[in-house]
């Protein structure tokens, strides 16, 4: 059970000291220089939420344009920028930073029983770079030069010859810039997960959420280089005169596609695996049951990302590959289904054999399972190469991946927002409007995305800025548009509920759900040092081990294991989770935002074509790094 109030005066005094050591500076400056994973998580949350709003507005404009045939709500040029930015935003600037940057940052140390990330300043740096990259790419929209060749930006359409403006340069540089942030996040998640767990948390006692974050981080780390290479080549082709993708000079347009999808398919799993992590946190809490087949699910979470690296060419069945290579990729695609079905049925069996209470978070997870299975089943259809060749690049595909991305990634994000709201704010949300918001979103998204299957089969190709009447597409498109606005209403209700709850909600206490994992053992919101006592862990559902929690309480009373002498945190051996050493953690640093700013200038200069100035800015980055390292914590 949770530690609510300090039991003894001695403990109170020690907690006071912890408070002083970990306290952050007040005001804006505190936020600018923070290295607290919770604050960084919140910064990520608010930023990605704003970007979700932008991506959503783009989506609704697209849907408005397509509500009826032959409309002129937006021009074709604007339409192309809208759908390109919609995809780029939702993938690179909403889902990944929301699940890893916001949820991962806030929760990972709390679930691991740690006081902070392994590299707190690097963590801060990742946020500031992310913010700068978001501002960078959105500048393009405001000056009317947004990327306009879709989120996968095929060449030669994206080459200088067919796209002379700065639109695609924004794309190349923005994506590279953004992936620096993701790489930093991924790298330090991996180290945190292996090194910063509470002593005693061997890998098999690690919550599934952390396995999911581990899988996603490995995915990012290995997938992003392909994308960075791809966008760098394109930038060089466009601005320096290389010919990587130019078929008339011995380059290859398909090289872009291969490199892109080597990144792009793992990316899909990187989008949804953290959401699986959220689901596997919520399900045990609301079924009061340890998740069925835990080891199998943990392995499946890792496996899905691993196998996901071998299927990329199934995005390219229409380019005229040899049959034999298509069959290879189809077989890999078939294999990648298994880790997903394992998880789906493990979740379902947990629902059944547990003691399900359908509160809002669990409703979102049930909805997520429904959406994920629907999208997964149409995904399995793409094992059939001839069928894939028939429907690829139509609205059938659009339907499929929106069931996966909205259904399987965004639903858990919403569920997670409700689930951890009491932890983050200390307030309970209102249940009734919460459930209503779920049903509105559920109905809305299905009305929005289901008809897309049908128009796709009726021949509607994707990315068309308009369409003729008389092909039987009109009614479906209208229904989709209505569904879009219904979904918007549901999301507004969700946000409104949380907003009002923040001010009016009843106090939540440390553990309103009788949650399974360590974050529920500490107060809500958690103190800056997360845990007063380094928690004892003997299973993956630490909060359900009363003996251990009693041990924590005794330790607190005796002032043991509190590490209240410095900015300290224990590190462990990677597999067994045995105590390795006590690490001195760095505290508050102004350098991450400075470095991010310098980097932003580098990218801006590259965009303008002032390569010399960009080089000088690069030197400024090095200086910032030097400043950063002049502030090392004592060994």
């Amino acid at each position: 059970m949770a530690i609510a109030t300090p039991p003894t005066p001695a403990a109170a005094e020690r907690m006071e000291r912890l408070e002083q050591i970990w306290e952050s500076r007040p005001g804006i400056l505190g936020w600018l220089t923070t290295t607290d994973h919770k604050r960084i998580g919140l910064l990520y949350f608010w930023t990605t939420l704003a970007l979700f709003g932008a991506g959503g507005a783009e989506a609704l404009l697209i849907r408005t344009q397509l509500a009826q045939p032959n409309q002129h709500v937006v021009s074709p040029q604007t339409f192309d920028e809208l759908f390109s930015m919609h995809g780029i935003t939702m993938i690179f600037f909403f889902i990944i930073p929301m699940t890893t940057g916001a949820f991962g940052n806030y929760l990972l140390p709390l679930l691991l029983g740690a006081r902070d990330m392994a590299f707190p300043r690097m963590n801060a740096l990742s946020y500031w770079i992310f913010l700068a990259s978001a501002i960078f790419i959105y500048t393009s929209l405001f000056i009317g030069k947004a990327p306009n060749a879709g989120w996968f930006n095929y060449v030669p359409l994206a080459s200088k010859q067919f796209n002379p403006g700065h639109n695609i340069d924004f794309y190349c540089l923005g994506i590279i810039f953004n992936s620096i942030a993701s790489t930093l996040t991924a790298g330090q998640f991996i180290v945190t997960i292996f090194k910063s767990r509470a002593p005693g948390m061997s890998l098999n006692r690690m919550p599934l959420f952390c396995f999911a974050m581990l899988a996603a981080s490995f995915g990012l780390l290995f997938a992003l280089p392909a994308l960075s290479a791809d966008t760098t080549f394109l930038f060089l082709d466009r601005n320096v005169g290389t010919h990587f993708f130019d078929a008339s000079h011995g380059g290859s347009a398909l090289l872009w596609q291969h490199l892109f999808w080597i990144f792009g398919h793992p990316e899909v799993y990187i989008l949804i695996v953290p959401a699986f992590g959220i689901a596997t946190s919520i399900i045990p809490a609301f079924t009061q049951r340890r998740l069925v087949a835990f080891p199998l699910v943990a392995v499946a979470e890792l496996l899905v990302v691993f196998v996901g690296f071998g299927v990329w060419a199934h995005h390219m069945y229409a380019v005229g590959m040899t049959t034999i290579s298509m069959i290879f990729f189809a077989a890999a695609t078939a294999m990648v289904v298994i880790p997903s079905t394992i998880q789906v049925f493990a979740w379902c069996m947990s629902f059944i054999t547990g003691f399900a209470r359908f509160k809002t978070p669990l409703l979102f997870i049930a909805g997520f399972i429904f959406m994920f299975v629907t999208g997964g089943l149409t995904g399995i259809m793409f094992v059939a190469i001839p069928f894939d060749q028939q429907v690829t690049d139509t609205y059938f595909i659009v339907a499929h991946f929106h069931y996966i991305i909205f259904g399987a990634a965004v639903f858990p994000i919403f569920g997670g927002m409700y689930y951890w709201f009491p932890k983050v704010t200390g307030k309970l949300y209102f249940e009734r409007p919460g459930q209503i918001s779920f049903w509105i979103i559920f109905v809305g998204t299905n009305l929005l995305f289901f008809p897309m299957h049908i128009v796709g089969l009726l021949g509607m190709t994707r990315r068309v800025s308009t369409y003729p009447s008389g092909l039987g597409w009109t009614a479906y498109n209208l229904a989709e548009t209505i569904g879009g606005f219904v979904t918007l209403a549901g999301i507004l209700l969700l946000l409104g509920n949380l907003f009002v709850s923040y001010f009016r909600g009843p106090p939540a206490g440390p553990d309103p759900w009788h949650g399974p994992t360590l974050e529920w053992t500490t107060s809500s919101p958690p103190p800056e040092y997360d845990f007063a006592v380094i928690p004892r862990v003997t299973s993956a559902y630490a909060n359900w081990d009363p003996v251990d929690r009693e041990a924590d309480r005794l330790n607190l009373a005796d002032g043991l294991l509190m590490l209240e002498h410095g900015h300290e945190q224990p590190t462990v051996t990677p597999v067994d989770g045995r105590l390795a050493e006590i690490a001195q953690m760095p505290h508050e640093s102004p350098w991450p935002p400075v470095l991010a700013l310098a980097l932003a200038l580098v990218f801006t200069m590259l965009l303008i074509g002032l390569y010399g100035v960009a080089g000088i800015m690069g030197l400024v980055c090095l200086l910032a790094l030097a400043g950063w390292h002049s502030q090392e914590p004592p060994e």
């Binding site: 040029q77 009061q288 229409a318 380019v319 005229g320 079905t341 059944i352 399995i380 059939a384 068309v464």
Partner: protein
């Protein structure tokens, strides 16, 4: 056009949401196959969709079952070591989550990727009687009949019940040739030529559309495939092979001069004249076509007029500039082009 009624019918299907497809729309419908390839794909789809409903039904059933069992015991009791029904659940996960999908997906893999795929593969050149070249341009389709002089745009004529080899290429960016009622789609890749087979069962008109995003007017890059009786096809091809005939009226004569001396001829070819531009479609028999601008507008004298004046309105961003001509010159141009049967 009875589109509204059809739309209503589709809406009714949508409300039912089950098996909603057959019979809606018509001319670009992957589930209204008119060739053995498209039929195989459609059949594959119906089977897969049946399986998908069963799979979805299974999962929904499990979720509903858990809904029935909700709140079934007190909440917040001591849950130490709580894994009720763990062993049975493991069985369920292994059977439903591993064994069943392996069986189902292996079957699907074998049927579709080892057998059905053969029908949609590029044909060997020996098995077809006719080759057509289709070249994607931003944003129209050039169509050539190798071995003949015939060149047209945005429409393919092929004989019925005859396997036809379609070679697709691109003049600029990647497009994708797709006539869903006849076969799968195939991309046009720079520096390459890809092949797809068309083998229509029946005489008729089938709509196709560029499926790969190719820039501003991707939405208006459609085409018709006309499937004719073989004899009619031969007549059509012979007509298309002919160079242009001398203008039949003084007005048309004036139009021809305007065309040849004006900017038109730098972009358009008319066989039998000096016009040999290659930026836009060959206009030798433009009057014989069903539409203008890759199915953007129909091909009536009025539409033609409007097209020459304001093609940028009908198809913003397309590569043909608006032509500001006085009424008389325009009349002449239209009269000339209308004569190009």
């Amino acid at each position: 056009m009875n589109a509204p009624r059809e739309d209503r019918r589709c809406l009714a299907f949508l409300v039912l949401a089950v098996v909603p497809l057959a019979g809606c729309g018509g001319s670009q419908n992957a589930l209204a196959p008119e060739s053995h390839q498209a039929r195989d794909i459609a059949t594959l789809f119906w089977w897969m969709m049946g399986g998908a409903w069963v799979g979805l039904g299974l999962v929904v059933g499990l979720l509903l079952w858990s809904w029935k069992r909700r709140n079934r015991r007190g909440f917040g009791r001591d849950v130490e070591g709580d894994k009720p029904g763990e062993k049975r659940s493991w069985y369920a996960v292994v059977v439903l989550g591993i064994v069943m999908p392996i069986a189902v997906i292996s079957t699907l893999f074998v049927v579709s990727d080892l057998f059905v795929i053969k029908t949609t593969q590029a044909p060997a050149s020996t098995t077809t009687k006719l080759t057509v070249q289709v070249i994607g341009h931003q944003w129209w389709w050039e169509v050539r009949y190798p071995g003949t002089t015939a060149v047209t745009a945005n429409e393919l004529h092929i004989p019925a019940r005859t396997p036809v080899r379609v070679e697709v290429k691109t003049a600029d960016v990647i497009h994708s040739f797709w006539v869903p009622e006849l076969n799968r789609k195939i991309d046009t890749i720079p520096g390459r030529s890809n092949v797809v087979e068309l083998d229509a069962d029946q005489v008729g008109r089938y709509r196709g559309q560029c499926a790969e995003f190719c820039g501003l007017q991707h939405a208006h890059m459609a085409m018709y495939v006309f499937v004719d009786e073989p004899s009619a096809f031969r007549r059509w091809l012979a007509q298309q092979e002919k160079p242009v005939e001398a203008p039949s009226s003084a007005l048309a004569e004036r139009g021809a001069r305007l065309f040849l001396d004006g900017p038109c001829s730098s972009c358009h070819a008319i066989r039998g004249t000096d016009a040999d531009g290659y930026v836009g479609p060959d206009l030798t028999h433009v009057a014989s076509r069903a539409t203008l601008g890759a199915l953007t507008v129909s091909n009536t004298p009025d539409d033609l007029r409007q097209w020459i004046l304001h093609s940028q309105q009908a198809k913003p961003g397309n590569q043909m500039p608006d032509f500001n001509a006085s009424g008389a010159r325009l009349d002449a141009l239209v009269a000339f082009l209308e004569g190009l049967k």
